[in-house]
């Protein structure tokens, strides 16, 4: 069963009125992606190639100029219960305690307060945040804050997780711990995930397939299956012998290391 599907999707951002020299941007062009139930697909590509645009489209926050997107077979016409989003920024609300931040989505959806709190406790426990329920975000480290953001996302029980560089602001060690947490949750609950990342090893360690996007306008130029066992154990998986050669292949696809490439 297809969980998330892009059908020939393009997104053109029209020129900003009143701003001279603004010509509009074709961010992505003719993108088709099918993601099966329980699959984890990573998307890599150069900066500004429209990766985040694709996630915004899938979340329903933005609409495609052409083509259509389906989640669980339904066309996406706006934000919906099937998908949840997690960004590089944790977006914790500074005036709410961690528990109330984790509850935020269900509070918006008007889940009963007692049920909400009980559920939040469960997720705080799962992401090792017991004891921090009543702390404010600024009292926590970056890794813990991102974990709270993950708890808030999982609290919504989405079918599809949209992850936009969720760990890129973290230090290397914290990142690995959180990748492990995420991979285990995804595996245990059979979630479907669409992960955008700049980190090639992260893409390989966490996913079943890696899609490579071209420079703007973004198109899918390559699809690489990750035939390495142990997707639920990224810490082990990233040490696998195939990771090195596969990373090299991704680098060449992205033109990383070529002289004319300016970042």
């Amino acid at each position: 069963m297809l969980r998330l599907s892009f059908k020939d999707v393009s997104r053109f951002f029209p020129p900003v009125r009143g701003r001279t020299g603004s010509e509009g941007v074709l961010a992505v062009e003719g993108v088709s992606i099918d993601i099966e139930d329980g699959e984890v697909v990573a998307l890599i590509g150069p900066s500004g190639c429209g990766k985040s645009t694709l996630l915004n489209l899938a979340s329903g926050l933005d609409r495609p100029s052409k083509g259509e997107i389906f989640v669980d077979g339904e066309p996406v016409s706006g934000p919906n219960e099937h998908v949840a989003f997690m960004l590089q920024k944790d977006l914790l609300l500074p005036w709410r305690t961690i528990r109330r931040n984790v509850e935020f989505g269900q509070e918006i959806r008007r889940m009963d307060a007692a049920q909400r709190e009980e559920r939040a406790q469960k997720f705080l426990h799962r992401y090792h945040l017991d004891g921090f329920a009543n702390h404010y975000p600024h009292e926590l480290s970056g890794g813990m804050r991102q974990r709270a953001a993950l708890a808030r996302t999982m609290m919504m029980d989405p079918d599809v997780l949209l992850l936009d560089e969720p760990f890129s602001a973290l230090d290397a060690q914290t990142k690995m711990v959180l990748q492990q947490d995420l991979a285990q949750t995804v595996a245990e609950e059979g979630k479907t995930a669409f992960l955008i990342t700049h980190d090639l090893v992260e893409a390989l360690a966490l996913s079943d397939r890696v899609l490579v996007m071209s420079r703007r306008p973004g198109r899918i130029i390559e699809e690489i299956p990750v035939d390495i066992p142990g997707r639920a154990e990224p810490m082990k998986r990233r040490q696998h012998e195939k990771i090195g050669p596969m990373t090299a292949r991704l680098m060449s696809l992205l033109d990383i290391g070529k002289v004319e490439q300016t970042v």
Binding site: L93, I108, H138, S141, M144, Q173, V177
Partner: protein, 284 residues
């Protein structure tokens, strides 16, 4: 940091303990003693300075003379009643001015169109010296407390409005997207994101407003009327009672300080979540 297990959190102390500790450490600090010394110098300077320097009492009366005049005005002149009237005007003017400024700030902040239409007038009124309206209000409403309250409202209105407007405009758009992803309604976005986001800015507007309210009320009282500290000040001036002028200035200052402190206490109570600097000031 170790793999995300270490905490950057200090153990909780009860408020009483931490208050006591900060008091104890304050007493040990040198600046406290220096401040006390400065106070003594100031008081002594005011008491003995004028006669030593040959300044006439009708220019600068001695501190003790000001104090005696204060007691005299309290006993014979209804000073308490005038003070309370001024306080009342400050509270009502400040309260209404803040409320109107805040509501207007949120409305303009959420509607581009309203802001575009209203902003030239707001700008003009913001530049106009608000206290200059006090005589106009007296002409309209007579020698009563209405012109004082109106002047206070007018002077408090703008800093609150501008602060709220700027804050609503500066909300992190991804926080709004977050709420939209959960299918928040417009009202939920306002009450759960925009409003709490704007609170620190609202409070800095209130701080400014608290002292401005006293200025507005004082000017309107000076313009006309027979009750309130400003009217007492004008009366003392008319009678060449310099000590009386000082008494009213001191009381007006005290009212301003009280208003400011009350706003800060309210701010601390409401913005408990904000990181606090070691001196207890809420970080901006």
């Amino acid at each position: 940091m170790a793999p995300d297990g270490q905490l950057a959190v200090t153990p909780d102390r009860t408020p009483a303990e931490s208050a006591w500790q900060s008091l104890a450490s304050a007493v040990q600090r040198r600046e406290v003693w220096l401040s006390a010394l400065a106070l003594v110098v100031f008081v002594a300077g005011w008491e003995w300075g004028p006669p030593l320097l040959g300044i006439a009492p009708y220019n600068i009366p001695r501190l003790s003379a000001v104090f005696e005049e204060g007691i005299h005005m309290w006993v014979n002149g209804d000073l308490l009643r005038h003070t309370l009237i001024t306080c009342f005007e400050v509270i009502v003017g400040f309260g209404l001015g803040c409320l109107m400024g805040a509501v207007m700030g949120y409305v303009l902040g959420m509607s581009r169109l309203m802001e575009v239409v209203a902003s030239p007038y707001i700008l003009a009124l913001q530049i106009a010296p608000k206290v200059a309206f006090a005589p106009l209000f007296v002409m309209w409403f007579g020698y009563n407390i209405t012109p004082r309250i109106l002047t206070a409202i007018l002077i408090v209105f703008f800093p609150v409005l501008i602060n709220v407007l700027t804050a609503v405009r500066s909300v992190d758009p991804s926080m709004i997207d977050l709420a939209r992803l959960f299918k928040a309604t417009r009202a939920q976005i306002f009450w759960k994101i925009e409003f709490p986001w704007s609170l620190p800015a609202l409070f800095s507007g209130l701080r400014i407003g608290a002292t401005l309210a006293v200025i507005g009320v004082t000017v309107a009282e000076l313009v006309g009327g027979s009750v309130g500290l400003g009217a007492e000040l004008a009366k003392a001036e008319g009678g060449a009672n310099t000590a009386g002028v000082f008494v009213t200035i001191i009381l007006l200052t005290v009212i301003g300080i009280l208003a400011y402190v009350l706003v800060i206490l309210a701010e601390r109570a409401v913005l408990r979540y904000a990181p606090q600097r070691p001196d207890g000031e809420i970080a901006a």
